[in-house]
């Protein structure tokens, strides 16, 4: 026990170098994500049945050879809808995270660099946005923008921008006073150039970690919004609205609720594990002992 937990500088460093194998969480995480992306990719192009095709004769059929995951109340194949839903959810999440990262980075850079009262004002608005519980902000924005794919991307993108802004601003603040920034200025480089060339690259590591976990939050948020009735509207399938639609049939057709939930959980698990592994590699504070 004691050797494991002994915090001695030399021993820990050696232990790190010896750990060439990827961590178990990275392995499991990447596998799960790979399955998700494969399902999403396939789902965008092909599914065993048409996810939107109604079939009155095959309503609420339990999982069987013909329909591996059963059918829903309209006779639509659950597996096909799950795959198509994967494609939609992944696409929405990627776009949302991109939007949040772009907007948040811009705000964070500007705010952190300007400091002074401009920074205070921007951060006041930022914090106001943060004080809105994400789902509720999205609800309000969605009702204005319209509950469709693009509305959700914008609404959730806005909802998650403040977190990104905070992280980027934090990085900017901590790097501002470092030598290489001063050196850059001394060399005659403009403020903007300095920011982009020197500060931005240093944001990438924390941003990557944040983006990974945000991907998970957005997936979850989209599902939760659908559950509340304001997500991507049916009949187009998303995991969230499939889960929501399963509620009235919970005692007759439990499979309608189990599979979408399982899909969301496994995907989130993969994202979280991968995020952990990334953080372990990239976050200097986590990297072993000194």
């Amino acid at each position: 026990m004691s050797s494991d937990s002994t915090v001695s500088a030399g021993g820990a460093m050696k232990r790190n170098r010896r750990m060439k194998l990827p961590a178990p969480n990275a392995l499991v995480g990447s596998t799960l994500i790979a399955i998700l992306l494969a399902a999403a990719g396939t789902g965008a192009l092909w599914t065993p049945y048409d996810p939107l095709k109604l079939s009155f004769r095959e309503k609420l059929v339990a999982p069987s050879a013909l329909h591996w995951l059963g059918t829903d109340e309209f006779g639509r194949d659950v597996l096909s809808r799950l795959m198509a839903g994967a494609a939609t959810s992944v696409w929405i999440s990627i776009l949302t995270v991109t939007l949040a990262v772009v907007m948040g980075t811009a705000i964070g850079l500007v705010s952190g660099y300007l400091r002074g009262w401009a920074d205070r004002v921007i951060m006041a608005f930022n914090d106001a946005l943060l004080a809105f519980p994400g789902i509720l902000l999205a609800l309000g924005l969605l009702a204005v923008l319209g509950a469709n794919k693009y509305g959700i991307i914008v609404a959730l993108g806005i909802a998650y921008t403040p977190s990104v802004a905070r992280v980027v601003r934090g990085t900017v603040l901590s790097l501002r006073e470092r030598e290489f920034i001063a050196a850059s200025r001394v060399m005659g480089n403009g403020e903007g150039f300095t920011m982009l060339r020197h500060i931005l690259p240093n944001c990438i590591a924390p941003l990557t970690v944040l983006a990974t976990s945000m991907f998970g939050y957005v997936l979850l948020a989209e599902s939760a919004l659908s559950f509340l009735g304001l997500g991507v509207p049916p009949p187009a399938p998303t995991w969230g609205n499939m889960l929501a639609g399963s509620r009235p049939y919970i005692d007759q057709a439990a499979w309608l609720g189990i599979f979408p939930g399982l899909a969301i959980s496994l995907t989130l698990l993969g994202i979280n594990l991968l995020g952990d592994a990334l953080r372990d590699r990239l976050d200097p504070r986590m990297r072993g002992a000194r």
Binding site: M1, S2, D4, S5, V7, P24, N25, A124, F125, D127, A128, A131, F132, P133, G134, I135, L136, L139, G140, L141, A143, V144, G216, L220, S223, A224, F227, L228, G229, L243, S246, R247, I250, D251, A254, G257, I258, P260, G261, I264, S265, L266, L268, L269, I271, N272, L273, D276, R285, M286, A289, R290
Partner: protein
């Protein structure tokens, strides 16, 4: 300390004002208004005009805001358009319901998860650590509404031990009331265990790297003394902050759990009010939630010095 609190409250006021204005404007941008919704397809232009005048919706936006905000400052949050109940008492009553569930769940979760997280950090990379982290990650990856549905399926439908839908207030009948609270609390508890364990572990790990731990060991303190006297106390600080964040977020995000279990809490009040375009309730709720969030964070910040003497010394 007092000055610190005052400054923090002062800094929070602009945030609250921004929230108030944004909500006010945002919900009026949404298509559909409460008058239309109340009259439904029986509305005629004349009856709509009458109802809008009665609800004060025919005045200009700044005037409406001025009236509303002015009343808020005197403690009058107006009346719900749907039920004509006074908004603030309604919010407080629903908040009590949500708070019961959230506070109990988070308290219980912290009770188990914080020590577990500290131990996991202490035995980093051991089988115990990996097991705990794996379980925690699994728990927090499961969406709360799905977890709730599963519990409902199992304990409610299959086993029949617990009620499937509905709500009875503990104030009215504590035995039945308790039954209704078990599953929502359990759902949140499981989820938060995952979240808090990881946070506790992460902050403990950070602390364990610090100089003064090495120093304490060098002084000859036993491992467990190091662990509990120093590491735990200091790791708890950031965890405590994050618990505050969790609480703040939960108060809003609990809407889904309340929907699954049909609990009349604050989350559902807000969601229902948005669907019903009940402006006074929406405005009141959002303001209240933002205020609670700010308050919780303030309390967290004030308690921070208890855990980290270095902060107090500043």
């Amino acid at each position: 300390m007092f000055r610190f609190a005052l400054t923090r409250i002062g800094m929070a006021l602009p945030t609250l004002l921004i929230v108030a204005v944004s909500v006010f404007v945002l919900i009026r941008l949404i298509p559909g208004d409460p008058a239309q919704l109340m009259l439904g397809d029986l509305a005629t232009p004349a009856s709509l005009a009458d109802l809008r005048a009665r609800l004060g919706l025919d005045q200009s936006l700044p005037v409406q805001f001025g009236i509303w905000f002015g009343n808020v400052l005197t403690g009058d949050f107006g009346q719900s358009i749907s039920s004509q109940q006074a908004v603030l008492p309604l919010i407080l009553q629903r908040f009590a319901v949500s708070a019961q569930i959230v506070l109990v769940a988070v308290f219980l979760a912290s009770l188990f998860a914080v020590p577990a997280g500290v131990v996991a950090a202490w035995k980093q990379d051991s089988a115990l650590d990996i097991g705990l982290v794996g379980a925690a990650t699994l728990l927090l990856s499961i969406p709360t509404f799905w977890l709730g549905l599963l519990l409902l399926l199992f304990f409610g439908l299959k086993l029949g031990w617990l009620p499937v839908v509905g709500y009875v207030s503990i104030a009215d009948d504590w035995k039945a009331g308790l039954l209704y609270l078990v599953m929502p609390i359990l759902t949140l508890f499981l989820h938060e265990m995952g979240v808090i364990l990881r946070m506790a572990r992460a902050s403990t790990l950070e602390v364990l790297r610090l100089d003064y731990i090495t120093h304490a060991r060098a002084k000859g303190l036993s491992e467990s003394a190091v662990l509990w006297r120093h590491a735990f106390k200091n790791a708890f600080g950031p965890t405590w902050t994050l618990i505050g964040l969790v609480l703040g977020n939960l108060l809003g995000g609990i809407a889904v759990v309340e929907t699954v279990f049909t609990i009349p809490g604050l989350g559902r009040l807000l969601v229902d009010a948005i669907f019903a375009r009940d402006y006074p309730v929406i405005q009141g709720c959002m303001l209240f939630v933002a205020f609670t969030y700010v308050l919780v964070n303030l309390v967290i910040d004030l308690c921070y010095p208890i855990f980290d003497p270095r902060v107090a010394a500043q």
